[in-house]
């Protein structure tokens, strides 16, 4: 039980430090760029334009039989936002401990908050994107329903999932520097194995299991259910995802804290 609660205790005990770190990170992202926080919107929009062009216009993938490119863009964007947060947090967590060597070797510092702040920072950027997305959806004449209220809960689970993986990755990357190289590759594969720029319905039945075992499928599905379809997420995949998220969160923290005493030796 203590192991279960320990990672939550990290969040509470170091909330002020986490807050400052997140603050710094968000500002650090945009402090020296002319367009500032608009990059949180521009970046996903640029990718969206590219994917819509390639998958909808060139390859003529349709979300439903009757839907057009606009519909494709909405669904793709809805899936892209949580994915970009995930991808950003994981890429950065694989090098965060190496980047912060002075904090580890020269200062007594709760290093476990480093991956946490990356995840929160990525989620905040995502929220900016989501706000813009919601405006677009509403202008498009689709008023979100009550199911929108489940979104904070989805994001909370997403946070647990991402933080768990970030803890695991950051530790692993210290022992095996190759992890940093592998992460970029794995993330590309992972993205295309998640129904982000194509609907799950297009996947042949014999490959369906690939999507079913992928936790990101559940997240992307839950986002679309809440934001676009006004229904509750599919219960079984979602419940399964919740369990996976919790297990990763607890075990990620456990591994991180187990290996933490050796960090200074590894750098």
């Amino acid at each position: 039980m203590a192991t279960m609660l320990a990672p939550f205790r990290v969040l509470i005990a170091h909330r002020q430090a986490i807050q400052i770190f997140v603050n710094r990170d968000i500002r650090g992202r945009y402090i020296n760029s002319a367009l500032g926080v608009w990059w949180a919107v521009i970046q996903p929009l640029a990718l969206l334009a590219l994917y819509t062009f390639v998958f909808s216009s060139i390859m003529s993938i349709k979300w439903t039989e009757s839907a057009g490119a606009g519909e494709f863009a909405l669904y793709a964007f809805c899936g892209l936002l949580p994915w970009l947060a995930m991808s950003d947090a994981l890429t950065r967590s694989s090098s965060i401990l190496l980047d912060q060597t002075p904090l580890i070797k020269k200062v007594v510092f709760p290093t476990e908050i480093l991956p946490v702040h990356l995840v929160l920072s990525a989620l905040i950027v995502e929220i900016v994107g989501l706000a813009v997305f919601l405006v677009v959806v509403i202008i498009g004449g689709r008023l979100p329903g009550w199911s929108l209220l489940i979104l904070p809960f989805v994001m909370a689970l997403q946070f647990l999932f991402m933080t768990g993986v970030a803890w695991l990755l950051s530790t692993l990357a210290l022992y095996l520097r190759d992890v940093r190289q592998v992460v970029g590759l794995v993330l590309t594969l992972w993205m295309f194995l998640t129904p982000i720029v194509y609907p799950a319905s297009l996947v042949p039945a014999r490959f369906r299991w690939v999507l079913d075992i992928n936790p990101m499928t559940a997240i992307v599905g839950a986002y679309r259910a809440a934001l676009l379809d006004d229904r509750m997420p599919a219960p079984v995949p979602f419940a399964l995802f919740a369990v996976i998220a919790l297990v990763l969160f607890v075990s990620g923290h456990w591994l991180f804290m187990r290996t933490k005493p050796t960090f200074a030796d590894l750098l």
């Binding site: 430090a17 400052i20 650090g28 580890i104 070797k105 020269k106 200062v107 007594v108 095996l176 190759d178």
Partner: protein, 427 residues
Amino acid sequence: MSSSAIEVDHVSKAYRLYPTPRHRALELMLFGARRYHTDFWALTDVSLRVTAGATLGLIGNNGSGKSTLLQLIAGIMTPTKGRVAVNGRISSLLELGAGFNPEFTGRENVELYGIVMGMSRDEIVERLPMIQAFAGIGEFIDRPVKSYSSGMFVRLAFSAAIHVNPDVLLVDEALAVGDVLFQHQCIRRIREMQASGTTIVFVSHDMGMMRSICSEAVLLDRGRIEAHDDPATIANIYHAKTANAEAASQTSGRPRSSGDGAAPVTFRADTNFDERVRLFRHGTGAARIRHVELLDRQGRPVSSVEFDDEVILRVHVQYYEDAAFSILGFSIRDKTGTDVVGSNTHEENVPLPPRLAGDTVVVDFRQRLPLAKGSYSVSTALAYDRNKPSYFDWVDNALVLTVLPPESGKVIHGKVSLPVDIAVHVQ
């Protein structure tokens, strides 16, 4: 007897050295079924107890384990064997400003530092004026740290570290930086902290400072505690040891490294040097000083020298662009920043040859140092032209050296002792 603030109990620390990163991965994946690493023991069976309120000085040559011991006490590393226990909040000055982010303001960096040290926001807000005043940086507190001069940076970092009211303060040669005024300010603050019962562990090569500040001292040698006594005794043992080592190598005849005559001088770049002087350099960077060494007459590295000893200041320079003409100079400064001794290749009529991009040059300055005892810093610079103040690279604090008092007991008046003839005419 008062309670102990620090207990180090039979502590040993081994660093695992792997031939390549692949071997580390391999060992990890085999769960240690095969060993690929060799152990390097930085500390062996070290035990010591520091009572609350005491100030302990750590002395030893480079590589004797001082820094490792501090890191273990700070809790940054864990011992391979044994146990370290510390009572109370630790503030460590192992590296000034570690974790400071140059893009953010001084205030933000100090806030973060305080939070990390376990203070609440209110406490920090309450102390900020004190920190600001002590650092003496005025309205710069609200500017990004990257716009600070190196002195301001160091002062702010030091100020932040001592104002978090630690129970235990660990200082690793941090006092060697900053101007003399600030050093005095630091020492005064350290005395205040001593008076209020703070336990301090202090690494320094400055025997004078050690004697004046510390209540006890430990001499470390190759990872073991050689002696633990009052500072004066330890300083004597240390001096005797270095003198013996010197005498032993002198009786062995020639310098160890050479076959016949002097050892060949080869260019050497030192990444530690770059790291250390990062804050103290300016210049175009078209050529860089990559390493500066202080050697004795036999060519062995030294950090403290006897009064009037001849030393070699060896400067390693690397050119990144073609340079038909360049001048290398040095200056030795005392604690007040006054240039005491200095010269350059132009003034001494030893011009540097034209160099192409990628070329290197190593220059030895031989110099006697008839200086008053104390610590001095060495600045080196590579200039374009003697008439213009434009530099390839200018490095302050390239190294710090200590001049020991004359063995004869002669008192030096002033900064430099030049030969003097005295004639007494009795009427």
